[in-house]
C-alpha cells in the first residue's frame, strides 16, 4: 500500500482501470454480449485483468515471461483459437518485462550491459529458430519437433536440479577466476541488496560461452515459440556467476527487448485482438510495476524457489507435449 501511494502513476492506472470496468459492468447492455455459464464477457475481461496482474508479479520475480504461465492455461481451459492465444501470450510475455525495466534499472537490479550483451544473440537466434521451425515443419513433420521438445523438457529438469543442489551458493556467487574478455568489456557491477542492507559486487565470467548459449536460447525460443525466460536466468546465474536477483531482473528486461521485434507480424495478421488483449496488457503493466518493487526487497532464496517451480512446471509441459505427439495420446493434466 505504501508503495502504491509512492507511485502516483500506478495508483492512477489502478483507479482508472477499476473505474473503466465498473463503468462497462454497470452501463453497458450485457444482453448483447456472449457469456460462458454465469459469467458474462465483461466478467471474463475483469477476471483476465486480475489473473494477468497475478501472473505478472510471479513472472517478474522469477525473471520469466508471463507467457509460460498464460499460454498453457488458455490452451487447456478455453476453446479460443491458438493464434489468438499465442499473440496475446506475446503481449503477456512482453509487457511485464517492459514496465518493470524502469524500477529495476532505477534500483540497479538489472544490468544494462548484460541486457545488451544478450540482446543481439537472442534476437538473431530467435530469427534463425523461427526460420528453422518453418523449414523443419515443411520437411520433417511433427516427430522431430516432439523429440526436441522432450529433450528440452529433460534439459529444464537438469537445470532445475542444478539450482536445487547448488543451493545458496548461486544466490550470491563467490568470486571466480578473472575472465580477460569480461575485464576488457568492464562487465563488473554492484547493486544494493535491500534484504541484506548491503551492496553486493559481482564480476561476470565465461562471456564467450554465455554469448553462444544466448544464441541457443534465442534459437530454441524462436523454434518452439516458448520465449527464453526459462533459460536466460540459468545462463546468467550458473554460467556467468551473476547474483540470482540481478539475473532474474536482467532476464525480464532482456526478454521484453527480444520480444519487441516479434509482435508486429501478429498485428499485421489480425491475430492480436484489442478487446481480448487489453485486460491482459493492463494487468501486466500493473503487476509488472508491483513485481519489480517486490523483487527489490524479497529474499533471494524465495526467488530461487519460485524459479525452480517455474522450471519444473515448464519441463513437465514440454515433456507432456513431446510424449503426446510421439505416442499419439492425450495427457489431460499436462
Amino acid at each position: 500500500m505504501k508503495n502504491i501511494k509512492s507511485l502516483p502513476e500506478l495508483f492512477t492506472l489502478i483507479v482508472a482501470t477499476v473505474a473503466c470496468y465498473l463503468f462497462i459492468e454497470t452501463q453497458i447492455n450485457l444482453s448483447s454480449l456472449d457469456s460462458i455459464g454465469d459469467l458474462s464477457s465483461i466478467d471474463l475481461i475483469v477476471l483476465s485483468f486480475l489473473l494477468s496482474v497475478l501472473i505478472a508479479v510471479i513472472a517478474v520475480i522469477a525473471g520469466v515471461g508471463g507467457g509460460v504461465i498464460f499460454t498453457p492455461i488458455l490452451l487447456a481451459f478455453t476453446s479460443i483459437d491458438t493464434l489468438i492465444i499465442r499473440s496475446t501470450g506475446l503481449v503477456v510475455a512482453m509487457f511485464s518485462g517492459l514496465v518493470s525495466t524502469g524500477p529495476l534499472m532505477r534500483k540497479g537490479l538489472a544490468d544494462v550491459k548484460l541486457v545488451f550483451l544478450g540482446a543481439l544473440p537472442i534476437i538473431v537466434g530467435g530469427m534463425l529458430g523461427s526460420l528453422s521451425a518453418i523449414y523443419l515443419a515443411k520437411h520433417l513433420g511433427e516427430t522431430s519437433d516432439a523429440i526436441v521438445r522432450l529433450l528440452l523438457g529433460l534439459l529444464l529438469i537438469f537445470i532445475a536440479v542444478m539450482f536445487i543442489f547448488s543451493g545458496k551458493n548461486m544466490e550470491y556467487p563467490a568470486a571466480r577466476p578473472k575472465d580477460s574478455l569480461a575485464m576488457r568489456l568492464k562487465l563488473r557491477h554492484s547493486y544494493w541488496e535491500d534484504s541484506l542492507k548491503s551492496t553486493i559486487s559481482y564480476k561476470a565470467i565465461h562471456i564467450k560461452m554465455a554469448v553462444f548459449l544466448f544464441l541457443v536460447v534465442g534459437f530454441t525460443g524462436g523454434f518452439f515459440g516458448l520465449g527464453g525466460g526459462w533459460a536466460v536466468v540459468p545462463v546468467l546465474n550458473l554460467v556467468m556467476s551473476i547474483p540470482l536477483k540481478v539475473s532474474t531482473a536482467s532476464s525480464g528486461v532482456l526478454l521484453a527487448l527480444g520480444n519487441a521485434a516479434a509482435i508486429w507480424p501478429y498485428i499485421n495478421a489480425g491475430a492480436l485482438i484489442g478487446v481480448v488483449a487489453a485486460p491482459w496488457m493492463l494487468g501486466q503493466v500493473v503487476g509488472g510495476i508491483i513485481g519489480a518493487h517486490i523483487l527489490a526487497s524479497v529474499k533471494a532464496s524465495i526467488v530461487r524457489n519460485i524459479l525452480i517451480t517455474m522450471l519444473l512446471a515448464s519441463s513437465l509441459k514440454l515433456i507432456g507435449r513431446g510424449l503426446e505427439t510421439l505416442l499419439g495420446v492425450e495427457i489431460p493434466i499436462i
Partner: protein
C-alpha cells in the same frame, strides 16, 4: 563482496528504463481509452460484442474478421486509418508500448558510448535497427 554503502546506478540503464517505463504507462492509458470506446461506440465497423462472441466460440482469425462488418483481415495500416474506433485505439496503444524500446535503446546507446562502453553502445544500436526493421517490414509489406 558486500559493502554497507550504496553505489551509484549507471545513467545508461536509468535512461533506458525511464523511457520504456513512462511510454509503457502512457500506452496503458491509451489502451484503457480504447477499451471504453470499444464498448460505448454504436457506429463502429468492429463491434466488440461481435468480436468477443466470436473469440469465445472458438472462431479462427480469418472467420472472425471476414465475418465482421470490415470483411477483411486488418493490418497496421487499417488500424491507423480507422484510429477513431475503439479496437484500433487499443491496438495502436499496445503498438505504442512495444515501440517504446526503440527510442530507449538509442538513448541508452548514446550514454553507453559516452561512458566508454563502445561494444555495448554498438550492440544497442544493432538491436534497435533490427527492431525497427521488424516494425517497418510489417508496415511496408502489409
Amino acid at each position: 563482496m558486500r559493502d554497507p554503502r550504496k553505489h551509484p546506478v549507471p545513467i545508461s540503464g536509468v535512461v533506458y528504463g525511464e523511457i520504456i517505463y513512462w511510454l509503457t504507462v502512457g500506452s496503458s492509458f491509451v489502451v484503457l481509452l480504447g477499451t471504453i470506446i470499444s464498448f460505448i461506440e454504436t457506429q463502429s465497423l468492429v463491434s466488440s460484442a461481435y468480436i468477443l462472441k466470436s473469440v469465445l466460440t472458438g472462431k479462427n482469425v480469418e472467420e472472425i474478421w471476414l465475418g465482421s462488418d470490415i470483411s477483411q483481415i486488418p493490418d497496421i495500416k487499417f488500424y491507423i486509418t480507422t484510429f477513431n474506433f475503439g479496437e484500433s485505439i487499443t491496438i495502436l496503444g499496445i503498438a505504442f508500448g512495444v515501440f517504446s524500446v526503440i527510442p530507449a535503446v538509442f538513448c541508452a546507446s548514446y550514454f553507453l558510448w559516452r561512458s566508454r562502453n563502445p561494444i555495448f553502445a554498438i550492440s544497442a544500436v544493432f538491436a534497435g535497427i533490427i527492431t525497427i526493421c521488424s516494425m517497418l517490414a510489417g508496415v511496408l509489406w502489409a
